[in-house]
Amino acid sequence: MKPTRLLAVLALAAAALPALAEEVVVYSARNEQLIKPLFDAYTRDTGVQVKFITDKEGPLMARLKAEGKNTPADVLLTVDAGNLWQASEEGLLRPIQSKTLLANVPAHLRDPGNEWFGLSVRARTLVYNTGKVKPADLSTYEDLANPKWKGRLCLRTSKKVYNQSLVAMMVREHGEGKTEDIVRGWVANLATSPFPDDTKAMEAVAAGQCDVTLVNTYYFGRLMEKNPTLPLAIFWPNQGLKNETAGVHVNVSGAGVTRHAKNPAGAQKLIEWLSSEKAQNQFADVNLEYPVNPRVKPDAKVAAWGGFKQNLINVKEAGSLQTKAVKLMDRANYK
């Protein structure tokens, strides 16, 4: 056989393969152990194969961009809204029209242009030492800048996107100047240099190195599951205020269909399924997060921390204001 003909046969064989079973390809920044059980369930449910590759958001987006219209990816899945906003800005996603998603995902947890949708809610809240702080002393994120907390606050590093999103939302709410003052207040109140992760910050609170910190609730859940006797409890801040911008800061783990998806219909179906009542508990519970779908109740362990009012600013602001927030934190010397 001539080499060209051989190539042609090989190419045909390669072309014929995808026809055997429908397949959706996912680029995911959410861990393998959190998504694989769901994709397996989806395959059982629908017969559609889900192929995925995990990496950090930055490299995944660089990859999508470099691959251009030849990307194998149909879906981009991330663990925060800021990166989804960025993917949308870079033209890596496409808008999708889906009544199901509009019904399943509250308006503030999805892109107004319908390019991405939140799938689970991650709440960033206060955790305090029950032996040293009375809940009545706590009120808001902003109050942690009050000098009464001097030497009593622990924080995770400002390099983590969760803190960047929180500060970005504060910029949206208070403007840059006031937010910078608040962040400077936090830094002045620090008991020790910022920690590399939420768990370490909570351990410092439990050990009495400081009294209060800011964490995502699932880290709290994970730590307490391992060590239930720690003197720690959750406090939901910013609850008393009336305006729409008041409430606990939330972020989402979410997904969108890639601009050059080979199987956009299949991609949309997968995202719709992930937002459905069938899948939402598994999606959220496996990591002790909150379902995004208001008709689905959180895991019992999560529900036991009590209900709270969410901040209703659209989470896309976490992305659009992230650069401002990061620069502001640099200026305030928040490491």
Partner: protein, 529 residues
């Protein structure tokens, strides 16, 4: 020469991609970083390089000296065991060190609760980072310097003593200067890895040039600004490397006389005990304690996490690291050999450029490689579509070839360092003698140089193997679907802070990394022919 240029060209691909970022100047972000971030982190980075440089030199050279030249109880075990920290990723050592020594760790908690003692120095500090990095990276210096001391002519030392120098003077005035190119080669590797490190710095929250690169990319959403900063880092490394190289090209280092291995200094009891305690302490802190901690964590998660897939992860890791290490050693050997055959400034620059990949922050290198591969792939796909009705989306991408080439670009330096400095120690007289006996160029390499380079080749292969096992960003970005490795498992667990669950794949990496180290010891310790 052509070959050397081809290798350098391959490495230049990501360098060019990275430098091309200057086409799109991110003035706003760079201005911000220059004003608020750079001043501190330039100082941080210099302190780090200085501290780790001194740390790995002192640890590596002293340990190499006592195990290669002295006799004390346990020496034979320490001889190979002191290499083991190489198999442990630095960020694991860092995490364990902080876990044990921070305010909330068991040691300080115990001291505080039982004795009321406080005011200890913070582990999460500049000193802490330097300590951890030195403990994690000293094996680069240790291993190369040990080869140097072991093969260094004992005659030179004896001559020094007969000229009235004491043993201590002999060490500082003869042995140390003679081993300098070897020590420098190890030091360069340790410092390049320090500069490019992100994982350890993130755990310590210590801001360096590399953390600023990632900040520009991940937090300020500017890959261009990140690449621009990376370019500056690369230039800085290039200048440092060339400067170091220049300062010693005038010298020629060759082995004189017989090996010293049979003439170890028998230490008196007190010194022998000190040597034992010193080597034992370093080994305990740099390897045993972290591994015990990993084992304890692994015990907690092994029932949930260990499944049959682990065989595939381990197999992928070993296979990739094995093939990658062979490629690195083969190419490094040819590159170093080309330099021996045709020395000169052009060759020196070519070699230095070809080994720059190690100084890149991993993820920046991964992108720098991925962008051209994807562009080439897009072009091939167009041809495939037009000519052959091809309907897929990947031809080169998603093959192991891309992955292995990327490893080659990244880790050529760890192979080149030991081999090149090893080659420097083979005297030209040997070449001439062999030529006079009618040996051709190929014969000279296979029958004369390769046997003499055995220890260097094995060192190079070990470095490359272990480094590829631990590598994360390139593996993540270029792996084909389904080709998850142990390092990918570590990433999956640590990316959401589940450090305890990352212990299982980390421990598996350590165990797999020990295999070549044991092999190296076993082969390397055989008496010279």
């Amino acid at each position: 020469m052509l070959f050397a240029l081809a290798v350098a060209a391959l490495v230049l691909v990501p360098v060019v991609v990275t430098f091309s970022s200057f086409a799109q100047v991110e003035g706003d972000i760079l201005a911000h970083l220059t004003e608020f971030v750079l001043p501190e982190l330039v100082g941080n980075t210099l302190w780090l390089v200085l501290g780790v440089g001194v740390g790995v030199s002192v640890l590596g050279v002293s340990l190499a000296w006592i195990t290669a030249m002295c006799e004390f109880p346990g020496r034979r075990v320490f001889d190979w065991a002191l290499m083991l920290p190489l198999a442990l990723p630095a960020y694991v050592t860092a995490f364990v060190a902080i876990g044990l020594l921070d305010f909330t760790g068991p040691l300080l908690t115990w001291l505080r609760e039982n004795w009321g003692l406080t005011g200890f120095p913070e582990i999460r500090s500049r000193g802490g980072v330097i300590l951890v990095m030195s403990l994690a990276l000293y094996p680069y210096v240790y291993l190369i310097a040990k080869n140097a001391f072991a093969t260094q002519g004992a005659i030179a030392l004896e001559a020094a003593q007969s000229l009235g120098l004491s043993r201590t003077q002999g060490f500082f005035r003869v042995a140390l200067p003679m081993a300098r190119p070897w020590i420098a080669a190890g030091l360069m590797l340790a410092l390049m890895e320090t500069l490019a490190d992100f994982g350890t710095m993130a755990i310590f929250n210590y801001d360096t040039f590399t953390t600023a690169i990632y900040k520009a990319w991940y937090s300020l959403f500017s890959l261009a600004a990140a690449a621009q900063l990376a370019s500056i880092l690369i230039l800085f490394v290039l200048v440092a490397v060339v400067f170091e190289q220049r300062s010693r090209t005038q010298m020629r280092y060759s082995t004189v006389g017989r090996s010293a291995a049979q003439h170890r200094i028998k230490l008196p009891p007190v010194l022998a005990a000190l040597a034992f305690v010193y080597a034992g302490t370093v080994l305990a802190i740099a390897f045993l304690i972290p591994v015990i901690q990993l084992a304890l964590w692994t015990r907690e998660v092994i029932d949930i996490d260990l499944d049959s897939r682990y065989w595939a992860f381990a197999w992928h890791s070993v296979l990739l690291a094995g093939i990658g290490a062979l490629m690195v050693v083969a190419v490094a050997l040819l590159l170093a050999y080309a330099g021996r055959q045709r020395p000169g400034p052009a060759m020196m620059w070519t070699q230095r450029l070809a080994t720059l990949g190690y100084a890149f922050p991993g993820a920046v290198l991964a992108v720098g490689l991925f962008i051209p591969v994807a562009a080439l792939d897009n072009w091939l796909i167009e041809i495939g579509r037009a000519g052959f009705g091809y309907d897929g989306s990947e031809i080169l991408k998603g093959t192991l070839l891309v992955m292995l080439l990327a490893y080659l670009v990244r880790f050529l330096a760890v192979g080149f360092g030991p081999i090149d400095s090893g080659l420097h120690r083979i005297t030209r007289n040997v070449d001439e003698a062999a030529r006079n006996l009618g040996t051709g160029a190929a014969g000279l390499l296979t029958r004369v140089h390769l046997p003499m380079l055995r220890a260097s080749l094995l060192t190079a292969a070990t470095f490359a193997f272990v480094d590829i096992m631990k590598e994360m960003p390139i593996t993540l970005m270029t792996r084909p679907f389904g080709w998850d490795t142990l390092a990918v498992r570590v990433f999956e667990m640590t990316s959401e802070g589940e450090w305890e669950r990352a212990a299982l794949p980390s421990l598996a990496i350590v165990i797999a990394g020990i295999i070549p180290i044991i092999l190296l010891t076993w082969r390397g310790s055989r008496p010279h022919d």
